[in-house]
């Protein structure tokens, strides 16, 4: 276990030693304040409190989407850059299995996602306090946590897609492009029966809030099972390819 933690530390350092790594966090902070300012100035009392503002904005339909894009950009290169830099050779001739190395990278992607989400929550709450104040409304900490969970699922699935694409294509650009394209079209609903088995309509679990559903005949547990299935599939494909691939 200690060995694995050290691998994760290695991956985290590779990301955080970049001077540009603070930029996405700064973007989240600035964006939260701007959104708060705009909604406060031009909207007419849209939110009753900081908690309501935070939980609404955090969803995949709000800041959650921007956050997902930032996570994709931040982590798309975690595998592919090793190939393009040529560092993959030194990485794979260590007394560590390829599975462990790749798993440490995936864990790092999830940690990065989590760190971004926590910064987003803090930034949004700060913005909410500034523009809407602490008291009032019905929303509380549990509402925020529910929203956080929805965003976390949405973001983690996309991060997994990006992770797999990075392994398969070995190109950072293609990975970022394809995944961001997916985030853009995932709101489109094709009103056909088969579409509910596609990944996209199942991604935003917040659609089930207040008894709704993205499409007829879909339930929360249906979506959860489907998301787990897809995620497992993506990871399986990624690990299978990475373990077997010749490094030329």
């Amino acid at each position: 276990m200690r060995n694995f933690n050290l691998l994760v530390l290695n991956e985290w350092l590779k990301i955080s030693k970049k001077r540009s790594h603070v930029i996405p966090y700064v973007i989240l902070l600035v964006l939260s304040l701007v959104v708060g300012y705009i909604s406060h100035t031009f909207g007419t009392d849209m939110y009753a409190s900081a908690a309501e503002f935070t939980s609404d904005m955090l969803r995949p339909t709000g800041i959650g989407q921007v956050l997902t894009i930032l996570v994709i950009i931040g982590t798309a290169g975690i595998v592919s850059r090793e190939y393009s830099q040529g560092t993959i050779k030194f990485l794979l001739i260590r007394a560590r299995s390829r599975t462990a190395i790749l798993a440490s990278k995936y864990v790092t992607v999830l940690l990065y996602t989590l760190s971004m989400l926590l910064v987003a929550v803090a930034a949004l709450f700060l913005s909410g306090v500034v523009f809407y104040g602490l008291s009032g409304g019905e929303a509380g900490i549990s509402t925020i946590l529910t929203s956080l969970l929805y965003s976390m699922v949405y973001c983690a699935v996309y991060a997994t897609i990006g992770f797999m694409l990075g392994i398969l294509t070995k190109t950072t650009g293609v990975t970022i492009g394809a995944t961001i394209f997916a985030t853009m079209i995932d709101k489109v609903v094709i009103p056909r029966e088969f579409y509910k088995y596609v990944l996209f309509p199942n991604l935003d679990l917040s659609a089930y809030q207040n008894g709704g559903a993205p499409m007829q005949g879909m339930t929360l547990s249906f979506s959860i099972v489907l998301l787990c299935g897809y995620t497992a599939l993506f990871l399986l494909a990624g690990f299978a390819v990475f373990r077997r691939r010749d490094v030329a």
């Binding site: 290695n10 350092l13 001077r19 040529g86 794979l92 001739i93 007394a95 560590r96 010749d246």
Partner: protein, 324 residues
Amino acid sequence: MNSFTRSNQGLPGPGTEPAVLEMQGVSKVIKGKAIVDNLSFEIRRGEIIGLLGPNGAGKTTTIRMMTGLIRLSSGDVLVHGQSIQKNFKQAISQIGAIIENPEFYPHMTGYDNLRQYLRMSDGAGASRIDEVVELVGLQEAMTKKVRAYSLGMRQRLGIAQALLHSPKLLILDEPTNGLDPAGIREMRDYMRKIAEVEGIAILISSHMLAEIEQICHRAVVIQNGKLVTVTQLAEAPEARSEVSLAIRVDRLEAAQTVAEAVQGVKVTGMDEARSELHVHLPDGTVPELVAALSEAKVGVYRITENRQSLEEDFLKWTGGNRIA
């Protein structure tokens, strides 16, 4: 000239201990074409081996298979008796390698880069970094980002990285690439040192035949993925019975007559322009010839040995193909 003896005396021969590296009928077939074809050879403790071959001979593919970067189509690679396929971790922990160019994380310092690899190896403490850095002489550059490194500095950092976990076998792909003459010499001395003192076996693939000739005990020559020959480069002087000499004299004709009169001496040619006589004779006859020449009052200015260089041999083996 060269004080370093290439003879392998004192080292246990094969059979007394397992070879550091054993290639057993290794093949790599890609799309029906054999890139490496049934290659077998072995490397023993403290040996420096050159891997030679023309372009596309399969040198890099061979090295990649040794280090587990690519799969073997058939055969096996044993490192200290451990299969790189079945016991990858045990096998690879005995290998330190630079494959093609040494590439590091450019946004991190040399020190941070080495620490990355230290975290991935077992049983090496932080002090080991200082040791290897001192060995390759990079102390001043360690706090600089690798982006600012010259190729020579990256090459040294590559060696440091390869030695970090104290391997038994060092695999170097073109180790003197990008080094200046002083650096090449230093690298050569250094490689001899680690081979002799620490008993680390070294496999070097290189363009430079002269380089291989100067440092290696044996050379493995491959072409089209097949083993052409394994040649002993470290012949002991006494083992050679015949020598070819070029003798620069003042009176060429007289010298020729004298030389032909000495038993065992064969005059192979004359170079009028340089006033040189080319002879082929048994090693033991050389003093006799020199004595005969001075007796006949033929002035001798130079005696040089015409050794067939590795390059000539190489071209002969590989049928004049261009050198990789």
